[in-house]
């Protein structure tokens, strides 16, 4: 049956069926009485309908007719296609970026079964915490939902590669458990992964290289496996090389080497949370099942180890979901904004079609008089709209091809989601399907209005008007109402952009609490076994730094710090001496870091009370801390904190004396509140990653080479990485807002332009339609200025209506932007009034030319106008 019908898609089959029917009917006519069989042509015609693909052939005919009519008015067609291309192109661009970032699955086998494992503390959102190794070992033993649970260092660090030949170099590496790669389901390209016994200290001098590092530093030498390389001055045996497509980025750039976890003494502390963990679910186990499994085990552990684990829970989260929130929110807002731009484009094209439909009313009336039903003409118009939309879609895809590349470039690191190595934004099948869908939606959206207005128009009126184009008042009002919609949509996009720009201004206006001008920063890895409470590996690091870097001409001062502002920090709990010990659960805590003497001075952080660290703070001298103003206010609201003491980690911890109070710095980022913070001198408490900061007399970036050379002189095994000026660090910390702001501004420009074109089109059209009326008014004595204001008033009342509608919508987009906004309310009067003013100005400008044309009409000519 289906086959029979499909066969008739072939023109040859249809022709054959036709001929056969002709022959058959002729043979039957010969048998019957003349006229007995009735109208045989009608019989043949009706029979043909049985096998003809009627709808298909008529659609094709409509398309052909549509293309022909469009080609007759190339100006209209080009304007419509370009407008649509802009809208569809922008939408496709945003979607293509979403498609290859947020929607991209992880590149690991069966990645939907990979989950992150978190310890949790207390209830509520964001209660996930990094994990301690002993708890993970117990999860491995006691849970049943997982094929394997892997563990890796939460911070990772730079590893100093050195060799007798080449330059030393610092690359980013990670300590991982032996099953790290097997749980992910990846195999090395060369050699093997780690063995369980290699997790123990002493047997952990092995390394696995990334493909990139292997190619770059070792020339892709396959014999590297089994050889030793020098890392941080020790010999490490290369046991494997990972394949090219393996990339691991989590809380860092892509790692370049992996070493066995080599559990140290502190790693055995159940409350020393310094690891991250992920696991592979057994097939068929749901997230919910895994959650209740691990939560039950965590509850048991909390009872078993009340000192370390009281209040602790555990949960899992799909690995692929992690870290998508920020980009997802930004991209969702962008998608809404471009959808609005597209709607404005639709409105413009619908207006063009309406104006064109008005001039085609005679054509439609004649067709209807000849027997075409109204819906048939509406379908014809809709087909024309779809033809336009598909042309616009093809042109839009072309725009998206460039747009997506540009946007990817613009996004830079913001597009790099955890564990997805995104190198390009392909226009794949999904993007093409999206573009097609959007085109069809667009075609229907702007085609429906003119198509419906044809249905409503009677067939007689246009003919009676004897060649004059109809000026139907209703049509005019519809066009003006569309302008109001356009203005409303444009206002929403504009206010989104306005709010983002205001946020950026607020952010830049926030005093960071330090003086970033002429400060150069760089990172150095100084491996350290006991991180929170041990003497540093290089006791004289700070002094050497001062001596060698301070000697460079143009260097004003030198310091170093464990955590660079805007790059996040660690935290530590303590008890305040002389006060009743708090419940271990509610022990006070603050952000923690270490610094070299000269750090605060170099950074321009003011010392408010007491002193900063100096060379007298050594391993043998009493422990000291410097606290920030926020900490001083919180814990010593009255009285002088200098000279007071704290016990680090609890009442039995080491005693540390406050020696100074420094100004607050927005350590977590300009948009985050200032936290309480204290620092210890590096010489009393080591830290594995130190950020060297250098204040220079001029152009800090030019000091990179001399500083690297000076460091090489006193630490030949070590190298620095991440050289940036402090100003760049601050700018990058606001980066996640930069792209949404730029994009929203670009979309606003598009929305404004399209709205202006739309308003101009509607005003000039209505001026043309009212030429006679204007002529009569002027003949009766109306002056040009009266006509001018009349025209302006006619359009501005709709623009104002649109503004009111847009205010409501702007609240919606502000809600979508949510956390991307900073220091500005969704209803910010300054933003709303200035974007409204811009819109009104643009609307006035767009109506100015046609209004002036109306005002300067010659009444005599106008009266004769047909």
């Amino acid at each position: 049956m289906l086959w029979q019908k499909l066969k008739h898609l072939l023109p040859s089959a249809r022709r054959k069926a036709d001929l056969d029917a002709q022959e058959e009917l002729a043979s039957l006519a010969a048998m019957a009485e003349p006229g007995e069989l009735g109208n045989l042509t009608l019989a043949a015609e009706n029979a043909r309908a049985v096998w003809e693909w009627t709808w298909l052939t008529t659609v094709l005919a409509d398309v052909r007719y549509g293309v022909r009519t469009l080609l007759r008015q190339p100006g209209f067609a080009i304007a419509a296609v370009l407008t649509l291309a802009l809208g569809i192109g922008a939408n496709t661009t945003i979607f293509s970026v979403i498609n290859s970032t947020i929607l991209k699955p992880l590149a690991f086998p069966a990645s939907d079964r990979l989950v992150l494992v978190w310890e949790t503390f207390g209830q509520g959102p964001n209660n996930e915490n990094i994990v301690s190794a002993p708890n993970i070992w117990d999860f491995r033993k006691q849970t049943h939902s997982f094929e394997g649970i892997a563990i890796f260092d939460s911070s990772g660090r730079g590893y100093n590669l050195s060799s007798t030949a080449g330059e030393p170099e610092q690359v980013s590496g990670l300590r991982v458990s032996a099953n790290f790669f097997s749980v992910l389901g990846v195999k090395p390209m060369l050699g093997r992964t780690f063995l369980p016994e290699e997790e123990l200290p002493g047997k952990d001098r092995e390394v696995i290289l990334s493909y990139g590092l292997w190619q770059r530093r070792y020339g892709g030498d396959r014999a590297i496996v089994g050889r030793n390389i020098r890392i941080d001055g020790d010999d490490f045996a290369v046991v494997g090389v990972m394949p090219q497509d393996f990339s691991w980025q989590f809380w860092s750039d892509a790692r370049q080497l992996w070493v066995p976890v080599g559990y140290t003494k502190t790693d055995y502390g159940r409350s020393d949370n310094s690891f991250l963990s992920f696991a592979r679910l057994k097939p068929g186990v749901s997230i919910a099942q895994a959650r209740s499994d691990i939560a039950a085990v965590a509850a048991r552990l909390a009872k078993q180890y009340p000192n370390a684990n009281a209040g602790m829970g555990a949960t899992v989260q799909p690995l692929g979901e992690y870290g998508l929130d920020g980009l997802r929110r930004g991209m969702l807002t962008m998608l809404v904004a471009v959808a609005f731009v597209l709607l404005i484009a639709c409105v413009n094209v619908a207006n063009l079609m309406l104006a064109r439909g008005a001039s085609r009313q005679k054509e439609f009336a004649i067709r209807r008089a000849l027997g075409a039903p109204g819906w048939r003409i509406a379908r014809q118009l809709l087909t024309e709209s779809l033809v336009l939309a598909v042309c616009g879609g093809v042109a839009g895809l072309l725009l998206a091809f460039w747009g997506s590349r540009f946007l990817f470039h613009l996004l830079g690191n913001d597009a790099q989601l955890p564990m997805r190595h995104i190198t390009s934004i392909p226009l794949d099948g999904r993007v093409l399907a999206f573009a097609l869908l959007v085109s069809c939606f667009t075609g229907i959206a702007f085609g429906l209005i003119p198509a419906l207005s044809v249905l409503r128009t009677g067939m007689n009126e246009p003919l009676k008007e004897a060649g004059r184009e109809s000026t139907g008042k209703r049509g005019g009002q519809l066009r003006h109402a569309l302008v109001a919609c356009e203005v409303a949509l444009a206002l929403v996009v504009l206010s989104g952009a306005g709010l983002m720009i205001k946020s950026a201004q607020e952010l830049l206006g926030t005093a960071p609490g330090l003086n970033a001008h002429n400060v150069l920063t760089m990172e150095m890895s100084v491996p350290q076994e006991a991180i929170y409470n041990g003497p540093p590996t290089l006791p004289l690091f700070c002094r050497d730094l001062q001596e060698h870097l301070g000697a460079i001409p143009g260097v004003l001062s030198v310091g170093a710090v464990g955590h660079l502002p805007f790059h996040g920090n660690a935290g530590r709990n303590f008890q305040i001496e002389g006060r009743p010990p708090a419940d271990p659960q509610k022990m006070p805590g603050a952000d923690y870091s270490v610094a070299c003497p000269g750090y605060f001075h170099t950074m321009g952080i003011p010392i408010l009370q007491g002193r900063e660290f100096n060379d007298t703070d050594t391993v043998t001298s009493p422990g000291v801390i410097v606290i920030n103003e926020a900490m001083a206010h919180k814990f010593w609201p009255k009285g002088n904190p200098v000279g007071q003491g704290i016990r680090l980690g609890g009442s039995n911890g080491p005693r540390l004396t406050v020696v100074g109070v420094v100004g607050n710095v927005h350590y977590q980022g300009l948009d985050k509140p200032v936290g309480t913070q204290f620092m210890r001198p590096y010489r009393q408490a080591g830290w594995p990653i130190m950020n060297i900061v250098v204040r220079t007399a001029y152009a800090p970036a030019t000091f990179t080479a001399p500083i690297k050379k000076a460091i090489h002189d006193f630490l030949p095994d070590r190298a620095v990485s991440g050289v940036e000026t402090m100003e760049t660090v601050i700018r990058n910390s606001t980066g996640s807002r930069r792209v949404p702001m730029l994009l929203l501004s670009a979309f606003s420009a598009m929305a404004l332009l399209l709205a202006a074109i739309g308003i101009m089109g509607v005003v000039s059209y209505s001026v043309t339609q009212q030429t006679q009326e204007i002529g009569i008014r002027m003949a009766l004595g109306a002056r040009g200025t009266t006509v001018f204001t009349l025209v302006l008033r006619g359009i501005m009342k709709w623009v104002l209506a649109g503004l009111l509608l847009g205010f409501a919508g702007s609240l919606g987009i502000a809600r979508l932007l949510g956390s991307l906004l900073y220091g500005v309310r969704p209803t910010d009067p300054a933003v709303l009034s200035s974007v409204s003013a811009v819109l009104v100005a643009v609307a006035l400008l767009a109506s100015f030319l046609p209004a002036r044309r109306a005002a300067s009409l010659d009444p005599l000519k106008a009266l004769r106008h047909e």
Binding site: M1, Q4, K5, D20, A21, E24, L25, S27, L28, A30, M31, A32, E36, L37, G38, N39, L40, L42, A43, A44, N46, A47, A49, V50, W51
Partner: protein
């Protein structure tokens, strides 16, 4: 008498139950077996034949008639036979149901209103 909607297909299939026939023959057979009561428009019969053929319920073949003329003969397929059986029982149910409702036409009783 006009045909009820949708019954033409059934009539054609029923007619072909006795053996292959050409289009004119089918029209005559229906008219004959309904004692001239059903006058089939050839203009609707012919498309119906094509429709049934497309559905695979009948097949056609050029043959020579008893009058030694070439004509296209239609015959029932097994699928057509099955379809006819279904349609037939549906039809019978329908007729019985309508018959139950309609029954013989009752003679309306004249009511005396009493006031005369």
């Amino acid at each position: 008498m006009e045909l009820l909607k949708g019954t033409l297909d059934m009539l054609v299939l029923r007619t072909l139950l006795f053996g292959p026939l050409h289009g004119y023959g089918i029209a005559q057979a229906i008219r004959g077996s309904s004692a001239e009561a059903l006058d089939i428009e050839f203009g609707s019969l012919y498309p119906a034949l094509k429709r049934l053929e497309l559905k695979g319920w009948i097949v056609s073949k050029w043959e020579t008639s008893e009058m030694n003329r070439r004509a296209k003969f239609y015959r029932l397929t097994p699928a057509g036979r099955k379809h006819l059986a279904q349609e037939h029982s549906k039809w019978a149910e329908f007729v019985a149901a309508v018959g139950n409702v309609m029954g013989p036409l009752p003679v309306p009783a004249v009511k005396n209103t009493g006031k005369g």
